[in-house]
C-alpha cells in the first residue's frame, strides 16, 4: 500500500561540546515498515497520568507516527468566570486559587493588582515586596512540579523525588504564611490577607540558599544525560514566528527565542528594580523549554533573595477603611469601624465604571485578568487570560510527525494545569 514512509527518530546525544552543552544530533531517519496502510485511533485520557490532569487526546497513528491529535478539554470546567460575576471582588480571590492550583499565590496577586488598578488604589511598599515573594515562590513551586513530573513522563524517576522534597519545603513555608498548601487566598484588594509570620524570612533564606544544591544534582542527572537529550532535543520544535502566531507565552515562547517577559516588558510590582535575567532558548524544542524553566528556578531564587533583603517594615494594607476591613478589635468596640465592616461585608467595595486588563508573568506564561465594571461591587465580566489553555492549543501542531512516545514528552513540555485550562 504505497511507498514506505521515512520516519524521524530521536537519537541520543554523542557527548558534550566545548561549551559543556550536549552535542545536538539531528533526528535520525528510518524507513517505516509497511503495516498495511491502516491508521489506528488511540484514546489517551481523560484519566491518564501522562496527561497531567483530565485532558483527553484522540490520536491518529500510522504505525507509531502521530498523524493528528485532537485534544478535548473541559472536563474540569467550573464556570469560574460566571461565578465571579455574582461575587464581590474580594470574594473572587478563593476562586483564583483553584485555577492554576500549582501556583495559587500568583493568581491571587494578579487578581488583587487588576482590581487595585481598576479602583485606583496604591498599595504599600511592604505589600509590593511580599507580593513579589508570593509570585516567585509560586514560580518555584510550579516549575519544580513541572520538572519532576516531566522527568517521570520521560522515564527519569530520581529527579522527581529530589524535586518533590524541595516542593515540600517550600509548601511548608507557604503553609506557614497562608495556613494552606493549596487554597492560599493570600491577597486582598488593597493589601494582603496576613503578614509573614516569625521565622518565615529565615526559613525562606535557608530555602533559597539550599535549593541550588538540589538543582545542581538534577542538572547533573539530566542536562547532559544522553537519554534525556535524545528524548527531548529536536522534539516539538516551534520557530519564533510560529510561537508568536500561536499567542504562546512564558517559557513556551521564550524557548523559541522570543524575548518577551511581562516582568520586563510591562513591569508591575517594581520588577524593573530587581536584578534578574530572562533566559531565552534558541531551538524551541522540548529540551530548550527544560533549560529555560530550569534557569528560571535560579533566577526566581535570586529575586527572592533580593526581595528578602529589601523587605521594608510598615503596614501591609492601605490605610482606607472603605477598602480594608477594620481590625476585629475595633469592629467590636468602635461604632465607626463596625459600620465600615458592615458595609464592606454586605455591599462590597464598588469599583468605578471602567475596565482593566492586567497581565503578570505567571509560571505558565502571561496570566491576564480582565475586569469590566459598571460601578457596582461585582464585576460585569471577569475574564482570565489562561496561559496554559492557549499554550495547549499548539499541541497538535507540535506533535504531528513525531512518534507516540514523543507526544508524551511534548505534552509534558507545555506545562498545562487543567484547572486553568478548563476554568
Amino acid at each position: 500500500m504505497g511507498d514506505p514512509r521515512r520516519v524521524e527518530l530521536s537519537v541520543a546525544t554523542t557527548g558534550i561540546d566545548e561549551r559543556g552543552a550536549p552535542v545536538r544530533v539531528p533526528l535520525g531517519v528510518a524507513d517505516e515498515p509497511d503495516l498495511g496502510g491502516e491508521h489506528m485511533l488511540i484514546n489517551i485520557g481523560p484519566q491518564h497520568p501522562a496527561t497531567h490532569g483530565v485532558l483527553r487526546l484522540v490520536v491518529e497513528l500510522d504505525g507509531e507516527v502521530v498523524l493528528r491529535v485532537v485534544p478535548h478539554v473541559g472536563y474540569l470546567h467550573s464556570g469560574f468566570e460566571k461565578l465571579g460575576e455574582y461575587r464581590h471582588y474580594n470574594q473572587i480571590v478563593p476562586l483564583t486559587d483553584r485555577m492554576d492550583y500549582l501556583a495559587p499565590m500568583s493568581n491571587n496577586v494578579c487578581l488583587a493588582l487588576a482590581v487595585e488598578k481598576l479602583m485606583g488604589i496604591e498599595i504599600t511598599e511592604r505589600c509590593k515586596v511580599l507580593r513579589v515573594i508570593a509570585c516567585e515562590m509560586s514560580r518555584i513551586i510550579s516549575h519544580v512540579v513541572w520538572l519532576g513530573t516531566t522527568s517521570i513522563d520521560i522515564g527519569a524517576f530520581t529527579p522527581f523525588l529530589w524535586l518533590f522534597q524541595e516542593r515540600e519545603r517550600i509548601y511548608n513555608l507557604q503553609e506557614m504564611w497562608t495556613g494552606a498548601r493549596l487554597t492560599t487566598s493570600v491577597t486582598r484588594v488593597g493589601g494582603m490577607m496576613a503578614d509573614i509570620p516569625d521565622g518565615f524570612v529565615e526559613g525562606l533564606s535557608h530555602f533559597c540558599a539550599t535549593l541550588p544544591r538540589t538543582l545542581a544534582e538534577v542538572d547533573g542527572a539530566l542536562t547532559r544525560n544522553a537519554i534525556w537529550c535524545g528524548r527531548t532535543q529536536n522534539i516539538g520544535v516551534l520557530t519564533a514566528e510560529e510561537a508568536i502566531n500561536y499567542s504562546l507565552s512564558g517559557p513556551m515562547l521564550r524557548a523559541s527565542g522570543v524575548d518577551y517577559d511581562v516582568r520586563k516588558d510591562q513591569p508591575y510590582l517594581d520588577y524593573e528594580t530587581y536584578d534578574f535575567d530572562v533566559p531565552i532558548g534558541e531551538h524551541g524544542d522540548v529540551y530548550d523549554r527544560y533549560l529555560v524553566r530550569f534557569e528560571e528556578l535560579y533566577q526566581s531564587t535570586r529575586i527572592l533573595e533580593q526581595a528578602l533583603e529589601r523587605l521594608p517594615d510598615g503596614p501591609i494594607n492601605v490605610d482606607d477603611p472603605r477598602v480594608i476591613l477594620p481590625h476585629k478589635h475595633e469592629t467590636m468596640n468602635d461604632m465607626e469601624a463596625m459600620i465600615f465592616h458592615f458595609k464592606q461585608v454586605m455591599d462590597g467595595v464598588p469599583a468605578p465604571v471602567g475596565e482593566v486588563y492586567l497581565p503578570i508573568e505567571g509560571p505558565k506564561g502571561e496570566l491576564g485578568y480582565y475586569f469590566v465594571s459598571d460601578g457596582t461591587a461585582k464585576p460585569v465580566r471577569w475574564r482570565v487570560r489562561p496561559p496554559a489553555f492557549i499554550n495547549l492549543a499548539v499541541l497538535p501542531k507540535m506533535a504531528e510527525g513525531h512518534l507516540l512516545a514523543d507526544l508524551i514528552a511534548i505534552n509534558a513540555s507545555v506545562d498545562i494545569v487543567m484547572g486553568e485550562v478548563d476554568r
Binding site: V58, G74, E81, S247, V380, F389
Partner: protein
C-alpha cells in the same frame, strides 16, 4: 492618547466609531464588519506591529440595551505597547463576526471559547465547535446574562443527562472520519451518526431550549 489611534482614524475613517481610555488602557471601537481589515492593518503595518494577540473574549453588559462586545487584546512585541480593539454586536441581530484564525492561529481556541460561552459565530473559523462544554450541551451559552447561574436544567435533569450521555462510548464524527473507521460501520449506524444522533440524550423541551 495612543499614537495608533490617530493613524487608525486616518486609515479607516468612520469605521473607528469610538475611542475611550480606561485605567491607562486605550480602547478602540471598530465597526464589526471591518474588524478583520483593522486587525490586519494593525498587525502588518510598519510602525504599528501589533504582532502578538494576547486575548480574544467577549463582554455582555447587565443592561440588555447595550450590545455585546468582542474584545481583542493586542500587544506589540517590538514597541512594547498594548491596544484593545472592540467590535460591538447588537443582540437583536444574529451574533456574527469574521474569524481571525487566518491571521493568528492562536485565535483558534479563543474564538471557540467565545462561541461556546456566548454563542457568537466566527465566520470562516476552520473548526467552530464547543470547547469547554461538551458537543451535545443543550442548555445554551453559559456566560450570557440571561443564562441562570445554576444552568437551565434542574440538577436531576443534568445528572440524568450526564449519566445517559456515556461520552466514552463513542467518538465524534470527526474522529471516526479521521480513522477511516466510518466506512466500516453498518449503514444504519452511519446514517444515525450523520444526523447527529449520538448517545441517548432526549431532546430538551421547547421551553428549555430557547437561548
Amino acid at each position: 492618547m495612543n499614537a495608533s489611534v490617530d493613524a487608525l482614524r486616518q486609515q479607516f475613517g468612520d469605521a473607528v466609531t469610538r475611542v475611550i481610555r480606561s485605567c491607562g488602557d486605550t480602547i478602540v471601537y471598530v465597526d464589526a464588519g471591518r474588524i478583520r481589515d483593522v486587525l490586519v492593518w494593525l498587525k502588518e503595518t510598519a510602525g504599528q506591529e501589533f504582532t502578538y494577540l494576547a486575548d480574544v473574549t467577549a463582554v455582555e453588559y447587565r443592561d440588555p440595551e447595550l450590545p455585546i462586545e468582542v474584545v481583542y487584546q493586542l500587544f506589540s512585541l517590538t514597541r512594547k505597547q498594548s491596544l484593545r480593539v472592540k467590535a460591538t454586536l447588537p443582540t437583536d441581530q444574529p451574533l456574527e463576526i469574521d474569524s481571525i484564525v487566518s491571521l493568528w492561529r492562536g485565535a483558534d481556541w479563543l474564538e471557540r471559547e467565545v462561541y461556546d460561552m456566548f454563542g457568537i459565530t466566527f465566520r470562516g473559523h476552520p473548526d467552530l465547535r464547543r470547547i469547554l462544554m461538551w458537543e451535545t450541551y443543550a442548555e445554551g451559552y453559559p456566560l450570557r446574562k440571561d443564562f441562570p447561574l445554576r444552568g437551565r436544567f434542574s440538577r436531576s435533569e443534568q445528572v440524568r443527562q450526564a449519566l445517559n450521555a456515556n461520552p466514552e462510548a463513542h467518538y465524534s464524527m470527526e474522529e471516526l472520519g479521521m480513522a477511516e473507521a466510518i466506512s466500516e460501520l453498518p449503514p444504519d449506524m452511519r446514517d444515525r451518526l450523520a444526523r447527529g444522533e449520538r448517545g441517548v440524550i432526549v431532546e430538551p423541551s421547547d421551553e428549555a431550549k430557547h437561548g
